[in-house]
């Protein structure tokens, strides 16, 4: 019990200190990203062109850099190359308006950690950023916890009150998705895109999301969790203190 409390403290401490750099030339988009991620307690800095990004990445260190590679005065991929040359260990999430596979492969090959195509849901971005940051090799980074719920991402297991939860793959992903977006509204659409991929124009009604959420909630409550998943009229769900 004691250990788990220490873990939790570490996590809270870690999350609140997560420093992000948002490189995006579209002002209103970067403002939204910043606002959304700040809700989680992250510290966000901004760069709106290649030059600024270049200077900031050279001078500072960030937990994660959200990098739009289509910048007006240069290619974002060059920033990654430069950073890797300087042995920077900053994590990088590429944002791109192009969904072309080559860009994605090149980006990942030269050292980016993930790739997200515009337009994206804020909840998806947040989940990706959190997932990237968890890859850092510090103790406890493979764990996400919220009160009595604990998710070990290295083993793909979730616990409630230290009891292993028997979740399906999708329920597990859904729980993690909620936890990466706690206290914020997550739409049904973003859940569908996160769980089933956006390659497929799947269905017109999102009833099946409801079933999934219902099952997850049932399993959590069966393991003596409080009901954290709140239904928000018209939009979707919010994972928060009841």
């Amino acid at each position: 019990m004691m250990r788990s409390i220490i873990f939790r403290c570490n996590l809270v401490y870690y999350y609140s200190l997560m420093k992000l750099l948002i490189v995006e030339d579209e002002n209103s988009l970067s403002r939204s990203i910043g606002e959304y991620l700040k809700m989680e307690g992250h510290i966000c800095e901004f760069a709106k062109n290649y030059k600024e990004a270049f200077i900031k990445t050279a001078d500072n260190s960030y937990n994660c850099i959200i990098l739009d590679i289509g910048l007006p005065d240069g290619n974002g991929l060059d920033i990654i190359r430069e950073m890797k040359k300087n042995r920077s260990t900053d994590r990088i999430l590429i944002l791109s308006a192009k969904s072309s596979l080559e860009d994605k492969l090149t980006g990942l090959k030269i050292g980016a950690d993930d790739y997200l195509t515009k337009p994206f849901h804020m909840s998806e971005l947040s989940a990706r950023v959190n997932s990237i940051c968890r890859r850092d090799n510090f103790v406890g980074f493979n764990e996400v916890s919220f009160n009595e719920i604990k998710v070990r991402t290295d083993e793909n297991q979730a616990f409630a009150n230290d009891q292993l939860l028997n979740l399906t793959r999708k329920e597990y992903d859904l729980l993690l998705f909620f936890m990466s977006n706690r206290d914020r509204i997550v739409t049904k659409e973003s859940i569908v895109e996160h769980l089933w991929g956006d390659n497929v124009i799947l269905t017109d009604s999102f009833d099946f999301v409801y079933t999934h959420v219902k099952n997850l909630r049932k399993k959590l409550i069966a393991n003596n969790c409080r009901n954290y998943i709140k239904v928000i009229y018209g939009f979707g769900y919010k994972f928060c203190e009841p």
Binding site: S99, I201, D204, F208, F235
Partner: protein, 420 residues
């Protein structure tokens, strides 16, 4: 009719007519010359006879007139026949047949002397033979000339027109997708030079237009992504606001739905233009089985919810050489359609062997023409949220790899068959 055949045909008709005319003219000229000679000799003979008659008043010794047959008849009356020259046949006892003769008749009735009518004949046989052989020689000469010139004409035309046929072939082979310009034969004939130039200009214009259009399509789709991302992010932020009224929530919900649709639409169009732009060049041997199983797993929960029964009959041997991403898009589009347009308590049957993939599913009767399901933006009214691009993307992919895809619908049974 082929140009060469036609030109040869006309050449044949006109040269035959010309040769017949020339032959006839030749024949009659020769004949006239021959007759003129005979007639001249007949008249000479006549002059000799007349001279003799005037000198001696006796019938000359006709035997001396070699080659002529001369018949003399005394005139009973003083009538004088006018001189005539004509052709006539006489019976030859020796050969027991008629022979052709040239015949000259004249009368001599000088006063005070005995009146005669004298017929001079000359055998035409020798001359006729000459004429005949000349005719035959001429005929064969003309015939061989005709054939030779036909042949030469054919060869020349063929050679002359070869840049033209070549240009046609190249133009027919021309594919706007390939970056190879048509290879046109060099020629120094002005008209063909012009033709080649026009073809080259046209094809290069077509290619550049096509490339421009493709780039335009792709670029505009890409450019739409950023404003869409802004809208989406703002909507996400707006939803986070506390104390929204129900009315506002409904408005935001509608905007969100429309934005999602726009996003899906743009994404679909982008996918199509990327397939068209051949941006998925890497291929490898792909086991369709894996993709089908992955797809079915992905929709497992939804199928459970709709109580859809799945039957599969899948062979391992089904290997297709194609791009991995496209295989994934193709299979997941087909399966998601089968799930999406299914009814509650329906079924999906998947059969895969090494020749074809058949996906059969229950559903509502089709509202649109089955032949049009692969066209862009064709969709029924029962799914207003659908953007109507799924099957046209599948069709683009199958076209890319020369696969055949057919759709059939009998009542409530829908079947998609993919032959690879």
């Amino acid at each position: 009719m082929k140009l060469l055949t036609r030109s040869t045909y006309y050449f044949f008709i006109f040269s035959t007519l010309a040769m017949i005319a020339a032959g006839a003219l030749f024949y009659y000229t020769i004949r006239t010359i021959v007759y003129k000679q005979i007639d001249d000799s007949l008249i000479t003979e006549k002059t000799i006879i007349q001279d003799q008659l005037e000198e001696t008043d006796t019938i000359p010794d006709f035997a001396a007139s070699f080659g002529y047959l001369i018949k003399v008849r005394l005139l009973n009356s003083p009538t004088i026949y006018s001189q005539i020259i004509n052709d006539t046949d006489l019976f030859d006892i020796k050969s027991n047949s008629y022979l052709a003769f040239r015949h000259l008749r004249f009368s001599n009735n000088t006063t005070g002397k005995t009146g005669y009518t004298i017929n001079i004949y000359q055998v035409l046989d020798k001359n006729k033979e000459l004429l005949d052989s000349v005719t035959i020689i001429m005929f064969f000469l003309f015939l061989s000339l005709l054939l030779a010139s036909l042949f030469v004409n054919y060869l020349i035309s063929k050679k002359l027109w070869s840049p033209f046929f070549d240009a046609i072939n190249e133009a027919a082979k021309f594919n706007v997708l390939s970056d190879k310009p048509p290879e046109l034969q060099d020629t120094n004939i002005n008209e063909f030079k012009q033709l080649n130039m026009v073809i080259e200009q046209m094809t290069s214009k077509m290619r550049s237009d096509y490339i421009n259009l493709k780039e335009h399509n792709e670029n505009s789709s890409h450019e739409i992504q950023t404003p869409l991302a802004v809208i989406r992010s703002k909507l996400d932020m707006l939803m986070q606001k506390r104390n929204l009224s129900r009315e506002s929530i409904d408005l935001i919900k509608s905007i969100n739905e429309a934005t999602t649709r726009l996003f899906k639409l743009n994404q679909g169009l982008l996918m199509i233009s990327r397939i068209e732009n051949l941006q998925f060049p890497e291929t490898k041997e792909i086991s369709l089985k894996e993709f089908i199983q992955k797809g079915l797993n992905n929709y497992e929960e939804i199928m459970q919810l709709k109580k859809i029964k799945v039957e599969t009959e899948i062979s391992d041997a089904a290997l297709v050489r194609m791009n991995e991403t496209l295989a994934d898009v193709m299979i997941s589009n087909l399966l998601s359609n089968a799930v999406r347009y299914n009814t509650d308590n329906g079924y999906i049957k998947c059969r895969l062997d090494n020749k074809c993939l058949t996906i059969t599913n229950s559903g509502l009767p089709l509202e649109i023409d089955p032949d049009q399901v692969f066209n862009r933006f064709r969709k029924g009214t029962s799914h207003p949220q659908s953007v109507g691009l799924g099957l046209s993307i599948v069709k683009k992919i199958t076209d890319l790899y020369n696969m055949q895809i057919t759709y059939s619908c009998i009542g409530t049974v829908h079947e998609i068959k993919l032959i690879y």
